[in-house]
């Protein structure tokens, strides 16, 4: 009870703090700061028409590398921690609908995922969403099957290879231009084409592979440890 009240008071006071520090309630007139810069020179600098991807992969590529590491650490940690606890019981058999769908859909889901990954610099999408889509196909397969998934060396290899590639691309930029993860080690090409925008498509691919394999790894660990004791 006391906790509820104290919690309410804290939350209300927080709202007061945030609201009171808003300077004015007008609408911003236009883009400001770096946002304006990105829209003006983004395509020239990176060759990517999707400016979000340009920012994610090119300008702030370090963030993305870090983000990959976040996901990597989390999946490693989850897998590591779950291997330490006793395995859960066999999963309950999936319904026939799930079992059927899991045989039909994954192929097209993976294809869609790959499309999103490869067109990240042209249209909404990129490595993260595409990788997540691919991982969802894996999840579906896993849900459809009644077996506990075994250790997948393939997943680990993909994950590791993708990560190392990302890192090496970074060093490549360092060697060529003295700038880690510089985009222009590959030609910018003509904006709007599939093979354009420097190493952005390559990095998207790498990220996609990494995200897909890592999320799949997490799913399968959950599945292995799941169930009540």
């Amino acid at each position: 009870m006391i906790r509820t009240i104290v919690g309410l008071i804290i939350v209300l006071a927080l709202s007061v703090v945030v609201i009171s520090s808003v300077p004015d309630y007008s609408l911003p007139s236009g883009l400001q700061g770096v946002g304006q810069d990105y829209t003006e020179r983004g395509v020239n600098d990176t060759g990517s028409v999707n400016l979000v991807t340009a920012v994610v992969v090119a300008y702030r590529g370090l963030d993305t590398l870090g983000e990959v590491v976040v996901l990597f650490s989390a999946s490693t940690a989850v897998v590591l921690v779950l291997t330490l606890v006793p395995m859960g019981a066999n999963p309950t058999p999936s319904s026939s609908i799930v079992a059927f769908t899991s045989g039909v859909l994954p192929g097209s889901i993976v294809l869609f995922g790959i499309y999103i990954i490869t067109h990240g610099h042209l249209s909404p999408g990129g490595g993260f969403p595409g990788g997540a889509v691919v991982a969802s196909a894996f999840l579906l397969v896993m849900l459809g099957s009644n077996k506990i998934p075994g250790k997948s060396k393939l997943l680990a290899s993909i994950e590791s290879l993708a990560g190392v590639t990302f890192g090496l691309l970074g060093f490549w930029g360092m060697m060529m231009f003295g700038q880690f993860l510089n985009n222009m080690v590959l030609p910018a090409g003509s904006p709007g084409k599939l093979f354009s925008a420097g190493i952005i498509p390559l990095i998207s691919l790498v990220i996609g592979a990494k995200v897909a394999s890592e999320l799949s790894g997490v799913f399968s660990s959950y599945r292995k440890a799941g169930g009540d004791e």
């Binding site: 770096v34 810069d37 990176t46 870090g66 650490s73």
Partner: protein, 973 residues
Amino acid sequence: MVKALAVFLPLLGAFVNAWLPSKSPRASRFVSYVVLVAGLLASVVLSIRLDAWDLKNLSDSVILSTGVGAPPLSINLEITAGGILAAVAMYAATIFSLHRFARTTPKSQPLILALLTASLGLIYSTDIFNSFVFLEIGSISTIGLTAACKCGSRWEAAIKAALVSGLVTILYLLAVATLYRSTGMLTLEALGLLSGGSAILVSILLLTVIVTEIKAFPLAGWGLDFYQGASSVVAGLYSATWSLAVLLWAAKVLPLLPIGNPIIYAWIGAAGLVFSQLAGLRASSSGRIMGYSTSAYASLLLVAAGTTTGSFYTQTVIVLMVFSSLAKFSLFMLGNPEKSDKWSGFGTIIFLVPVLLLAGIPPLPVFWAKFAFLAHLASNFPVIFYTVLTGLMLEAVYLFRFWSQRSERTNETNPYKPSAVSAVLIILLAGIWITKLSWGALDFSGAIIASSALRNVFHSLFAIGTLLCLPGVFKRIGREKNYWFWLLISGAALTILPAAGNGITFYLLWEFSAFAAVIAVSKGVRASRGTFWFAVFASLSGYLLLAGILLSGGSFAIAGLPAVLLTLAALVKMGQFGTHLWNVKAYPAAPGTIPAFLSGTSSKASVLLLVAVALSSTGGSLPWGRVIAWIGALTALTGAVLAAMAPDYKKMLAHASVSQLGYILMGLGLASILGWTAAFYHTIHHLIFKMALFLGAAGVLYRTGTSEFNNLGGLVKKMPWTFAFTLISVISFASIPPLAGFGSKWLLYNGLVEQGWLPVMIVGMFASVVAFLYSFRLLHGVFLGQLSPRNAHAKEAPLPLLIPQAILAVAIMVLGFKPTLLLNFLVPAIDAIPGLSGLAPIIQGDMVLTTMGTWNAWMVGLMVMGIFGFAFVFYWISGHKPKYVGQLDIGFAGEIPPSADEIHYSNNFFRPYKRALAFLPNINAEKIFSGVNKTFGMLGDAVRALFTGDGRTYLAHSLLFLLLLFVFLNGGM
């Protein structure tokens, strides 16, 4: 390229490692080592390129740019000289901890490497969102490692870290959004562009995040639980990499926050330091103690951020944080609760170095940083200075208790060797920095004591005293460990002490000597309590000395408060007036000849300090000389009474030692030529007889294995030489004419009468009478009376202990019969000091003349010897034969004695006097100090009640802290 390698190699290693363990654990370990060593090399190359080891311009940097374009569009990593030093430490710590992980959780290597990547990224990053990404990598790898490494409470530790990291994420992103919406940029510099409401919002959000992440009080709760619950390997790695990185990141961000006046950091830090260290006094788990120490350093960081700027700030922060993190790393790696704790003597020392480092004891590098930092505070922010000093003192107390508890559990096994190597590494690294930091700071010109004659007196006292303790060092009993090295160190530091030319040199040598002696005491059997009290009082006196020196601007030329602090430092060191607790605890616990060294030689350092203060402040007169004389007189009396009642040989000598030092205080307090002559004379005399007595006690202990009066007695037949030397010393300090003690009292009373301080003299004289009581008991209880059956096979003390006693006994004789040998040298030197009142005694041949009278020691000696000889011959001729009675031969009629102790004649020897004094209130120092201890404990309990152990409470703390900050900033700005 080297830059990129130094930062990103661990990352590549982590990715490679994710795949390898399933193939071959050895290959994976090999890759990790290759990557780490290469990264370390790259960092070292960079550090040399930046000239970082010079410690002069730690803010110098190289830029590693990433992505496309330049900031604010892209992100730069700024590799500062300070950061690269921290990085070297992080790499080294990771390399050293890897083998421990390889044994327990081999597949954790990717996480370890990710943690290192995050740490490096965080200290280099210049972008606020980029820092966030690294923060998250760090939290996730920490949580993962904690949960993966088997240890009792790992889940709870992990879940608390996860809760806090969740809250931090939300607050941080709110700050990022606000910053971006207001300025359109995400670089750290953009923080300076904020104004108005958004400035306050971003400041309080980020400050809350920082205080939570660095685990400063009051938001330290989760960190304490984390350190307590995580396995020691994880906690060790964490403190050397991630914790350090967060601290340095905070150090980078704090000055940039648009908070108005940064002094608020200092107040949060200073208050937090005191409160958290109060709570730390009550901590018992070693992990938790490390948590409190972390909190202390986090608070220090806040204080530094609030009070210093520029390169001084950087240097202070880097030295303090890097070394405290490394020290914690070593402690965690050494203190391995997963295995049974096994320590050899060597291990105890290896273990002590990090503790001393954390406590900021010279000459370790943390000391230099703390010293400069405190000096800065003392001259600019006095109130913060006192608060910080109090907090540091409290920290020292629990760190020493921690050490004494840990070293109690000793076994004869080697400590974990590679970890020992890591500690050695720290020492080496420390060595480089010590020379860098101390360069030019030390001064051995002897400027503090201008008179070279007096300096030489002290030089030779310390040197001779140490030398005389050395022959006996190998005559150890039972489980006493080797202590000669520390005796030598302590003695060497003392011997140099009079040459100190400025405050820092004096302080350095003083602490050096004190803590070498602390280690020496710890070598005794069951010495942990004694060592603890010694360490506590030694650091108390050290901190008083430090405060005095700093407040007087690094010199001794002062009056007022600094002089009082310095005087107090000396009094505590002497064990005067209540602080004798440490003497009484430490002397009996100390091994072999150490008590002789402490009481005879080391205690004279405080006389030196008093002389230095007196000479520097007002040319000879101590501040409140009369008060000091009274303190001396009262201590002389109470010490003598306590000595008479003591049940133990060494304890009695400890009380007696404190009591005798009181006479020196009376002389110094007089501030007259006669008084000072008496004080110096008595200083020398005290050194001689006290060393002889304690060396005799060491011999008795060596042969009988006990120092309790109940088990002694009748040893005169077994140890005639020891008896003879003890007798000479006793006659001397009881001030019976032919020997040296008479002269010191004669001079002193002359001085007191000359200045008209009669009440002081009466108390002093009364104390001398009580001294008869205990000197009699000493002789009687140990050497006379019946021999205890358990000592039937005792032999004469070994020569290495006897020969120094013989030398000292001869010295007493010489000093007694020919005091003019010394006075001829001493009186002119003291006469030359300006500002001392009264007339100098005149020396003519064997005669000493004062306005009060004359003293011809030679004649007096001959006369007394004549009378004594006559009495002896008379007794001998009379032919009385004593009747020998066994110790247990007592004829009570039909009474059954309750226990053997109570029928021993020396039990409760002075019961009648005790009964006569029964009307006095029963005050005793131990009770007072345990009362103080209890009070602090209660305060500590009150503070730590804040840390309920419920993870959500910690989150509520953070949010409340944020709200308070908001109220404060809106009220204050």
